[in-house]
């Protein structure tokens, strides 16, 4: 049931991307609004699917350890958030993109940028559904049973999503610079949007790294172990820190900032996919 919903959501995101593109080509605000409306529908269904999966894994866990008191129920709910394996992380990452776009960057989330980000969300869901990723709900290993799981994963992926928006905007900027189109937002506006999305992503990534460190300290007695995922998230953090310093103190703007946003997002993608597949470590239970 949930996988059918997610399949439909994937098609909706694809439709949204096509509508956004069409809206841009015919500069039709009606199509723009239709796309936006459809995206809300997709996001609603996606949210329902996430909640459904959450309920499913809660029920499975409650079967093996029936919670007694209210606090037990609450902590089981928190622990069983559907964020504990690779499949669930793909589905959640796909959710954060339109969610962040619609809530935090509403004014800019349309046209080419909307199409780009919807396509990315669609691809993530397609990979989750058809990429041979194990989608079964599995019981949690002891290390994952922690209240930190929810906040750690949510902040990290919202950070990824903000960086994805910055990346999409940077691509638009670079295209706009080479072949200016009057229908696209002016470069100065894109430049500011890259910066704003990066600042948000930086804050969220910092939260993700620090909550992970506190969790690691309680689970393994080490707040930092140089595990590949930790190290790559630090590399990503350093790249974005460089970008913010270059902009705020050296006044870098435009093309150089756009390229740094691209580089930073490549590091994000490696932190997420590359580390899971190419390097093994504490986070390898994601695969």
């Amino acid at each position: 049931m949930i996988s059918q919903i997610l399949g439909a959501v994937m098609l909706v995101y694809l439709g949204v991307a096509i509508l956004f593109l069409a809206a841009e080509m015919w500069s039709s605000s009606r199509l723009q609004n239709t796309a936006r409306w459809l995206l809300w529908v997709g996001l609603g269904a996606h949210t329902a699917a996430l909640l459904g999966r959450w309920a499913g894994s809660y029920q499975l866990a409650a079967l093996s350890t029936p919670p007694a008191a209210f606090t037990d129920i609450l902590s089981l709910v928190i622990i069983q958030a559907p964020l504990s394996n690779f499949y669930e992380s793909l589905v959640f990452f796909a959710w954060t993109l339109p969610a962040l776009g619609l809530f935090a960057f509403r004014r800019y989330f349309k046209g080419y940028l909307g199409a780009l980000v919807s396509t990315l969300a669609c691809l993530l869901l397609a990979y989750a559904s058809f990429g041979g990723v194990d989608s079964r709900i599995k019981p949690l290993m002891p290390a994952l049973k922690s209240n930190w799981l929810l906040i750690h994963v949510v902040t990290a992926f919202l950070g990824y999503a903000a960086f994805a928006l910055a990346f999409g905007t940077a691509i638009l900027y670079l295209v706009q610079e080479r072949r200016p189109r009057p229908s696209l937002p002016p470069p100065a506006q894109l430049d500011r949007l890259i910066y704003r999305a990066t600042v948000l992503g930086f804050l969220l990534l910092t939260l993700g790294i620090l909550t992970g460190a506190v969790w690691a300290e309680t689970a393994w007695g080490r707040y930092w172990s140089w595990d590949p995922k930790e190290t790559w998230s630090l590399i990503t953090w350093l790249i974005y820190a460089t970008m913010l310093h270059a902009r705020l103190l050296k006044g870098w703007q435009g093309r150089r900032i756009a390229w740094l946003a691209v580089l930073g997002f490549l590091a994000v993608m490696f932190t997420y996919f590359g580390v899971s597949f190419l390097l093994s470590g504490l986070h390898s239970y994601l695969t």
Partner: protein
């Protein structure tokens, strides 16, 4: 006019380089590059591994140049120390000024140096004071402060007054975290402790040596619980008793994600291991002969026919989810030794050396508990840094500084001259939007 050359003493050159943003960016990128190497080259492996993987030349280079422990080598620690100095220098250079700026109230003199954004003439009939207050409140929020300077009346609004502190809080936080790491390195201790049920520990392992405990630790009970037989573990827990000179000082349950602290040392339930409980019984078939052998750890046993030997190396309670298994080393005649697993519940699994066929009749085992043992006085510094980062980031990025002033003067021919001044150097976008609204508001009712 020729520029007068700046006087550069070595000290001022050093200070200049140490506080330069170019240096910071350089260090950040170097650190990122070194960290990339650290994730590509496997860390902390025995030297042979590197030679096997990369060959004599490169493998030897990796080992000799400390690329196998890169995060503890000068490659990484050097730039980290320089970065810490760089941050410290920047904080020393800028923090006093930032504090001074935050503590200095936004006053008339400073306001008059702001760039002028608009100029209006209002007719005599209006009540300029209340109008200015209303406009500023509607657009910027909050009450404007009023000051008088000569025959000018000033209305001042300041936003993001504490913004200048933001970056310094973030950088102080990073220094705290680095200091915490250093403190942990020098004054902390970290080791591990494997403990069997019923056993009393007096020491724990640090590196290759034993470190005495100030107390005794008894593992009363160790339980590993699985979701289903042969599946992933659901929980492992140790019931512990702390003793001093044989007297019981306290009891505690240690679980994953739920450490126990006693007398300054913290015990983390980090993993568990399997040990044999008595001899492993294997049936060995060779053609139509078969014989049951009893193997104990590390004891060679002759196989039927006398041409080969086997030895028990390890047992595992749940190898890769397939249940109990025994690892056996095998040597047939002058051949190379081979090593393989025999599964109790899955005789079909595992490659075995022909012509022999091993099946497990009994693999008696029990689990033992493995603790990470740690005392780290630096953790609180690190956590203090974690906490300080967030107000810092908030001030730095989400409380942009903006200063606004409205200067009101009586016009010589009656009516009022109104000037709007303001600046927000790091937040032009929002500033421009607010300015547009304000200008429109101020213009309304202006005779034109």
């Amino acid at each position: 006019m020729a520029k007068s050359p700046k006087q550069t003493t070595p000290a001022s050159w050093l200070w200049g380089s140490l506080t330069s943003i170019r240096f910071t960016v350089f260090l950040l990128l170097i650190l990122a590059a070194v960290a990339v190497i650290g994730t590509v080259v496997p860390q902390d492996q025995p030297p042979g591994q590197y030679v096997m993987r990369y060959g004599e030349g490169l493998g030897g280079f990796i080992y000799n140049w400390d690329l196998d422990r890169i995060y503890y080598s000068p490659w990484f620690l050097g730039p980290v120390v320089l970065l810490a100095l760089n941050i410290l220098a920047c904080v020393i250079k800028g923090l006093p000024q930032a504090i001074r700026r935050c503590l200095t109230p936004f006053a008339a003199e400073a306001a008059l140096t702001l760039p002028e954004r608009g100029k209006f003439t209002w007719p005599a009939g209006v009540d300029p004071q209340s109008r200015i207050h209303t406009l500023l409140r509607e657009e910027l929020g909050g009450q404007a402060r009023q000051e008088t300077l000569g025959d000018q009346e000033l209305y001042l609004v300041e936003r993001g007054r504490w913004r200048p502190l933001g970056p310094y809080l973030v950088h102080l936080a990073i220094l705290l975290i680095l200091a915490g790491g250093l403190i942990g390195k020098f004054w902390g201790i970290e080791g591990d402790l494997p403990l069997h049920q019923g056993e009393v520990a007096q020491n724990f392992r640090v590196g290759g040596s034993q470190q005495p405990l100030n107390f005794q630790l008894r593992l009363d009970k160790f339980q590993v619980e699985f979701y289903e037989k042969g599946g992933i573990p659901k929980e492992f827990r140790s019931d512990l008793t702390f003793l001093k000179d044989g007297r019981e000082m306290g009891r505690a349950v240690c679980r994953v994600n739920d450490p126990v602290t006693f007398d300054g040392l913290t015990f983390y339930q980090s993993s568990y291991g399997t040990q044999p409980e008595g001899p492993v019984r294997l049936k060995v078939s060779h053609g139509d002969q078969s014989q049951t052998l009893e193997l104990t750890m590390r004891q060679k046993v002759d196989l039927p026919g006398g041409e080969a030997q086997a030895m028990l190396v390890r047992v595992d309670g749940n190898l890769q989810g397939y249940g109990p298994a025994a690892q056996v080393a095998f040597r047939g005649g002058a051949g190379h030794p081979e090593i393989f697993w025999v599964f109790k519940d899955h005789p079909e699994l595992g490659e075995q050396p022909p012509p022999y066929r091993f099946t497990a009749e009994a693999i008696p085992f029990s689990y033992f508990s493995v603790f990470q043992v740690k005392s780290d006085p630096g953790v609180w510094w690190v956590y203090a840094g974690f906490i300080l980062v967030f107000p810092g980031l908030y001030l730095a990025f989400f409380r942009p500084a903006a200063r606004w002033a409205v200067v009101l003067e009586k016009a010589p021919k009656g009516g009022f001259k109104v000037r709007l001044l303001g600046a927000s150097p790091r937040n032009r976008e929002e500033f421009a939007a607010a300015l547009e609204q304000l200008l429109a508001g101020f213009k309304k009712g202006t005779p034109s």
